[in-house]
């Protein structure tokens, strides 16, 4: 059976121990800043900070695998399209016969690729070091309703659960002779006998789970208990505020002509 939709990797690094809200604010701010700052050097600085944190968190190897699979094709595509065909291109970097590659295109592609890299690395760094349950728990401790917290937490688990159920239904239908492989029309036809039981099973499971939640007292009008407190500190609070303020400050600076 599939687990939840969590990418969390057990660890005891500084990032693992940081307050979930600090990590959340850091991630959002870093992504925003990567797209706001004007020059390649600033984006490189952000990427360097992210790389140091990735090493500190001990998730470098896992991140490289993700980066190669996700970022490499994007980077190659950007470098090719921008270097050869950007309308601003005029300084020739090199030429192979009639094919000319331009410096401006390379610069623009490098900026775009680095921004996307920052976005992906920051997101995965957050996912690798933060359990989804901790994010919702931290938000509930800051006033998010338990019902909304439950919705968020269960939403993160429902995709693998549904995929697991679909897999079992598919296996059952295959064992009764349904062909689920082959040409596209054949596969499309095979979806109908899979979808109906999947939808029905999901509805039944939802009804049963709703009952189970009532039986366990979900929704009782009692003061919600905090099972654990996340370690927080003045340094983390200041960091959160500083990061949150850095974003509007960068926007204002750009509007005022920061280049």
């Amino acid at each position: 059976m599939a687990g939840g939709l969590s990418l969390y990797q057990e660890g005891a690094s500084l990032l693992h121990r940081a307050h979930p809200l600090t990590k959340g604010v850091f991630t959002l701010s870093v992504i925003a800043l990567a797209f706001i700052v004007p020059s390649l050097y600033w984006i490189l600085a952000i990427a360097l900070i992210l790389l140091i944190l990735v090493i500190v968190a001990g998730v470098l190897r896992r991140l490289i695998a993700v980066a190669l699979a996700l970022l490499l094709p994007i980077a190659v595509l950007l470098l090719a399209v921008q270097g050869f065909a950007n309308p601003a291109n005029h300084t020739v970097l090199f030429a192979i016969g009639p094919v000319v590659y331009y410096t401006e295109g390379l610069y623009i592609a490098a900026i775009a690729a680095l921004r996307i890299t920052c976005l992906v690395v920051a997101t995965f760094l957050f996912s690798f070091t933060t359990r989804p349950a901790d994010i919702t728990e931290a938000l509930m401790q800051r006033g998010l309703s338990p019902a909304m917290g439950y919705v968020v937490q269960s939403a993160l688990q429902i995709i693998p659960q549904t995929l697991d159920m679909a897999g079992r239904i598919q296996d059952a239908q295959r064992s009764r002779g349904l062909e689920t492989e082959g040409s596209l029309p054949k596969r499309a036809r095979a979806y109908l006998p899979l979808m109906l039981p999947l939808v029905l099973s999901s509805l039944v499971a939802t009804q049963e789970r709703a009952m189970a939640l009532e039986v366990r007292g979900f929704g009782l009008p009692v003061k919600r208990v905090r099972r654990y407190e996340f370690a927080d500190s003045a340094v983390q609070r200041v960091t959160r505020w500083a990061l949150a303020l850095a974003v509007p400050a960068a926007i204002v600076a750009r509007l005022l002509g920061w280049k």
């Binding site: 687990g3 939840g4 349950a133 009952m211 009532e214 039986v215 099972r227």
Partner: protein
Amino acid sequence: MSEPAVVFEDVGYAYEEAPHEAVSDINLRIEAGEWVGVTGPTNAGKSTLCLLAMGLAPHFFGGKLRGKVTVLGTESRAIKVIERSTDVGLLFQNPFTQISGARERVHEEVAFGPECHGVAPAEIEARVGEAMDLVGISALAARHPLDLSGGQLQRLALASLLAMRPKVLLLDEPTSQLDPAGTAAIFEVLSGLHQSGITIVMVEHRLETLCELCPRIVAMVTGRILADGAPQEVFNREVVQERVGLPVYTRLARSAALPAPRPVRLSESAKAFRTPIA
């Protein structure tokens, strides 16, 4: 005499839009601390009996309820299911849907119910540890609930229920997904709970198990109670033997033409077969 745990008075219940009642003319009084086994063929109304005791029928399912279902002194119409969950626990047949679907660790799943009831954190920790120890899942505490096998999930569902410390336990086939060793372990836990004074109503198909464990059996057929009493009394009735079945020891004794009352438990069976047949 103390207040009974569960009382059904002339109860009939039909699910919404159902053409006929799922259970009819149910009169049942279960005293506090009793362990009652409920058995019968498919569509006998066993699960509906549990849903009525919990209050899910009619509160959750709608439908039409006749008569009165009273649990721990409160009539089911007068109390919501979430309020009843303070004292009464129901274990469903399907453990997969019993889990909250929102927790990433087994121990967090066990804590879900007590958290909903506002139990103090230290008390929750104690209850969670105790419940996981009881059903033998302490080693799985850090696993994701969805990574567990069917049997492990069933243990988790039971632990989650026990952590809520109910006074009345309604168990709908609590060991349906467990292997023989797991089943024996769970029944040992239930024996301990019974001895501590908890009322248990357990739906079960394995008649030998029921006879060994439950001092009282309720046999149901097509929504009605066919027999209610001690195991030997219930399974020595011809009508129960025909419509519900009979434990293997009773069947052996019948094949050997032993005189009634025939044995229903292993110990009685050994004794009966040693007795020369007149």
